[in-house]
């Protein structure tokens, strides 16, 4: 019927696989595709449900989106003048996360490079186990460490009046995100083929030159993913920052000021906000804002990676 399908006039009959095997394979393929797609479905569904709880407030006349985003006045239960301004909370989240990344990225990537390139195999196995253990510590325990141990240390070494502040939250978040960065980063470096390393060394590069001229550019996508996962962990962390940052609504003037983050604010207030009230809806809107922040961070990183690749 179709000449292009059968150029040979007398093709040898190919062995046919049994029908159930073909069907089974198709079913399995469909199942795997479904699992892949489900990630998108879940993200979209979560966003939809959070936004659905928040949406009615957006059309209320008294509510101003500009005030929500750019005012620092957060008075959800005021008796006379209710104001929902989240700028101080957003700045709180960004400052604590920023400090955490400043501390965690050099440490995390350094540890990843050491583990994958410079360390003996036996030590590496031990260190990996310890790092995985570190990431298994529940965040409430980290929060407790921040509240008790770290806060006393900070008061003693800096003379700050209160030990729960940006510095405390940043250090705790750094400790939480370092294990994530190390394990993903190490995987990314391991994925670079050995031929790259051999070629570099054969050209007369020292091991350090080989690492930063060959390995880091080759593994940049994976390393960026590692950092991003660390950022995501830090932005979304709730319990530890609730306990370690001091929970004060204002724009911090320094590392030793207390702040409140978006997540901690939701955790502290959602339980007491009557379901369906304006306060409740604004807290869900805060959740949407948090979602958009992480989305923006991911998107920006994606563009950065593409930019690097094009060059």
């Amino acid at each position: 019927m179709s000449p292009e399908q059968a150029p040979d006039p007398a093709p040898a009959p190919r062995p046919q696989r049994p029908r159930w095997a073909v069907l089974g394979e198709q079913a399995l393929e469909g199942l795997i595709r479904l699992s892949g797609m489900s990630a998108i479905v879940f993200v979209a569904a979560i966003f939809f449900f959070v936004l659905r709880e928040a949406a009615p407030i957006l059309v209320r006349e008294e509510f101003s989106l500009a005030q929500f985003l750019f005012s620092t006045e957060w008075y959800p239960t005021s008796a006379s003048n209710v104001r929902y301004g989240t700028l101080a909370l957003t700045v709180g989240t960004l400052s604590v996360t920023g400090l955490a990344m400043l501390l965690a990225v050099p440490f995390g990537l350094g540890a990843a490079i050491y583990l994958s390139e410079f360390c003996s195999p036996r030590l590496r196995e031990t260190l990996k186990i310890v790092i995985e253990l570190l990431s298994a510590i529940p965040s409430v325990v980290w929060g407790f460490v921040g509240l008790t141990v770290m806060s006393k240390l900070i008061v003693r070494s800096t003379g700050a009046p209160v030990g729960v502040n940006v510095l405390n939250g940043g250090i705790i978040l750094a400790l939480i995100s370092v294990p994530v960065i190390v394990s993903i980063g190490e995987d990314a470096l391991k994925a670079v083929p050995d031929s790259y390393r051999e070629a570099g060394l054969a050209l007369g590069a020292t091991r350090w030159q080989m690492v930063y001229r060959v390995l880091l550019p080759a593994a940049r996508n994976g390393l960026l993913a590692a950092v991003l996962l660390g950022v995501g962990r830090a932005v979304g962390e709730t319990m530890a920052v609730l306990m370690a940052t001091g929970h004060a609504v204002h724009i911090p003037g320094g590392l030793l000021d207390s702040v409140r983050t978006l997540t901690a604010n939701i955790a502290a207030e959602l339980g007491e906000a009557p379901a369906g009230s304006d306060h409740y809806r604004v807290l869900f809107l805060t959740g949407t804002l948090l979602f958009l922040i992480t989305f923006a961070v991911n998107l920006a990183a994606d563009f950065v990676v593409r930019g690097i690749r094009r060059r």
Binding site: A79, N81, A88, P161, H247, A248, V249, A268, G271
Partner: protein, 310 residues
């Protein structure tokens, strides 16, 4: 016309069961007399009102179940106004209120149900102002508290209050407050700040105990919390209602004679004089057992001579 017939048919065995249970109860009580034979085996008392009191009311309900297993108290919050509104409609047996019932509400209830609400003082809510034990300050006025805590207040340093804290170079006042959803936060706003909003930037902690702990470790801190939370590391300030007036120490006696300015009575209200299970429940609340719950929840119990004897 034919529809209502099946209903008594369903209820008859229930009624019979209830009266049998009631009789059994009577027998078990040794002929207590007060219990009527028609009463259901399990009496339910509906209790609604003040969010400040909802925790203590819940513990009352749980503890009372041990004292009277045949009575179940269903507790819900919503606020004093919500509880009284439900009482006016006759929807609840007992309303909790952390304020006095308004004359208009009492009148409405009488008009609606034919019974006048009767109130019982079941305890007191009193806040103390805490500072570090090494702070030389001993008393504070409500006006000064407003200057420290309220939006637009001018006092940001201890020197603004005329206080020199020994061994401190930066004497910025560290304001310790509660998260905005707590009843303590609202009580302080109403009684100390005259319903002005809090100035932002205070450390808003999640529990009464945490406030006292932070104040105890911070030389320049000031905080407010229930009277029962004091530790050796902190000092309770005397509070004066206005400048020049006598400052009153937050003691149980000062709360009882209403000279301490940051205290309020906690009430329960019923429609008409309570009777039967409701009366027994309120008598129990006013007994030593019920008042122990009040004390353990961080509130001030009523004086021993006003309590009921078991």
């Amino acid at each position: 016309m034919t529809r209502p017939h099946p209903r008594p048919a369903i209820h008859l065995p229930l009624l019979a069961l209830a009266s049998v249970a009631g009789l059994a109860l009577l027998a078990a009580c040794g002929g207590g007399g007060a219990q009527k034979a028609g009463q259901a085996a399990r009496t339910v008392i509906q209790n609604k009102g003040s969010d400040t009191m909802v925790n203590v009311a819940q513990v009352w309900a749980e503890e009372y179940r041990k004292a009277a297993p045949d009575v179940e108290v269903e507790v819900s919050g919503g606020g004093s106004g919500v509880g009284i509104a439900a009482l006016i409609k006759g929807a609840v047996d007992v309303a909790n209120a952390s304020r006095d019932i308004k004359p208009s509400e009492a009148e409405q209830a009488t008009r609606n149900t034919g019974k006048a609400p009767v109130g019982f003082n079941v305890g007191y809510d009193a806040l103390a102002v805490y500072v570090h034990k090494d702070n030389p300050l001993d008393e504070i006025t409500l006006e000064q508290l407003t200057q420290v805590y309220a939006e637009g207040g001018q006092a940001t340093r201890w020197s603004d209050l005329g206080v020199k804290i020994p061994g401190v170079t930066d004497d910025t006042i560290v304001r310790v407050s509660r998260q905005s959803s707590s009843g303590t936060y609202e009580f302080f706003r109403e009684h100390a700040l005259g319903n002005k909003d809090f100035r932002l930037g205070s450390r808003d902690l999640n529990g009464s105990k945490e406030v006292v702990e932070l104040v105890g470790t911070t030389l320049t801190a000031i905080g407010y919390s229930g009277m029962g939370y004091a530790t050796p590391a902190v000092k309770k300030l005397k509070v004066a209602p206005r400048a020049g007036a006598v400052a009153v120490a937050p003691t149980i006696a000062a709360v009882h004679d209403k000279t301490y300015p940051m205290a309020r009575s906690l009430h329960v209200y019923t429609l008409g004089q309570p009777a039967g299970a409701v009366k027994k429940y309120i008598d129990w609340i006013l007994s030593d057992a019920g008042q122990k719950v009040v004390e353990e929840s961080g509130y001030v119990p009523i004086p021993p001579e006003q309590r009921t004897k078991p």
